[in-house]
């Protein structure tokens, strides 16, 4: 398993070149050529269409953590909705107009005074993509995947999150068909906030479970 996302080994600009312009005069690399070739062969054989790919890129672009944040804010302000969401996460999201473009079920895990939830995919990178978009690289790399299930408190501490000893930490390991979303605790001092203001406080990492939702994080956004 690579712990080095930088070793692409071919010639175009990479994300770690933070000070370089995002342009490339290089010819496409070997794997990019392979992607184009596989896609064009599948289209030529009538197995997929070019429109399938275009449409799915639009779907991917439309999925961001703002969707999950809206779900969380609704759950904080509407107890009946929260009940339905915890009963069936997918149906709860669909009720808010968030479609599931894949064959996955969603289980929403509620953080409470006594339980803190964390999600991981030890085998690869399964993630609640319909409501959060694509996962960050660290979620897909070995240290998080390997350690979240065996020493979650230490992993959380690396994110600056200290969970008191009397709070249970539950780690849920995603699969190809079952995905998880953490419903974070609503921060104190937000009693007067609107649903929209609450949603602005909720971050992607809070819905993965590596950090809490705080008023300060929201102000910094």
């Amino acid at each position: 398993m690579s712990s080095d996302p930088h070793s692409h080994g071919h010639g175009h600009s990479h994300y770690h070149d933070a000070h370089e312009a995002i342009v490339s005069d290089d010819a496409p690399g070997y794997y990019e050529i392979m992607e184009t070739a596989v896609r064009e062969l599948l289209i030529a054989k009538g197995l997929i269409t070019a429109n399938d790919i275009r449409h799915q890129i639009e779907v991917l672009d439309s999925r961001t953590p703002a969707l999950g944040a809206a779900v969380v804010a609704r759950a904080w302000t509407d107890p009946a909705f929260k009940g339905r969401l915890l009963e069936n996460g997918r149906a709860g999201c669909e009720e808010m107009g968030i479609s599931f473009y894949d064959d996955t079920q969603l289980i929403v895990l509620e953080n409470t005074e006594s339980v803190h939830n964390l999600i991981v995919c030890t085998l690869c990178s399964c993630y609640p993509r319909p409501v959060l978009g694509l996962p960050p690289d660290w979620y897909k790399l070995k240290p998080y995947r390997a350690r979240a299930v065996i020493e979650p408190r230490k992993v959380l501490a690396e994110f600056g999150t200290i969970i008191p000893d009397d709070v249970e930490v539950r780690v849920s390991d995603s699969t190809a068909v079952i995905r998880y979303l953490v419903l974070p605790r609503r921060p104190a001092g937000t009693e007067g906030c609107t649903e929209e203001q609450l949603a602005a406080l909720v971050t992607r990492d809070a819905m993965i479970g590596v950090i809490p939702v705080t008023l300060n994080d929201g102000a910094a956004q």
Binding site: S2, S3, E40, W138, F159, V177
Partner: protein, 112 residues
């Protein structure tokens, strides 16, 4: 790792393994990486290659290749191999198509 560890755990099965600190890296997908992701989703909903088959296809690359290839590079190589075994295309067809794509794009800077 002992030989028995390799027998009992496939390369993707790293839950509980020792590893270093979490480095909070992330990046915007390059256009071809996003196309590769879209391709994976399309292969799934067209019932051609599902998520589990994709994961097994990556696993079948073996530990040393998995260790050398970044994320979407692993996916596209796995899709090529699964495409051969499912008869979507032959290795020769893919080699010829890759040569054609390479020739077509060599002289044209790609927009990012």
């Amino acid at each position: 790792m002992s030989v028995e560890d390799f027998v009992s755990r496939l390369p993707n099965d790293i839950g509980g393994a020792a590893a270093g600190p979490v480095d909070r890296v992330e990046h915007e997908l390059e256009p071809w990486e996003k196309r590769c992701h879209a391709l994976a989703d399309v292969l799934d909903f067209r019932k051609l290659i599902n998520t589990e088959e994709k994961r097994k296809g990556v696993e079948a690359l073996g530990e040393s290749l998995i260790g050398k290839l970044p994320y979407y590079e692993r996916w596209i190589v796995a899709f090529a191999n699964i495409g051969f075994t499912k008869g979507f295309f032959t290795p020769t067809e893919l080699a010829e198509k890759m040569a054609e794509v390479e020739a077509r794009t060599a002289d044209h800077p790609k927009p990012l």
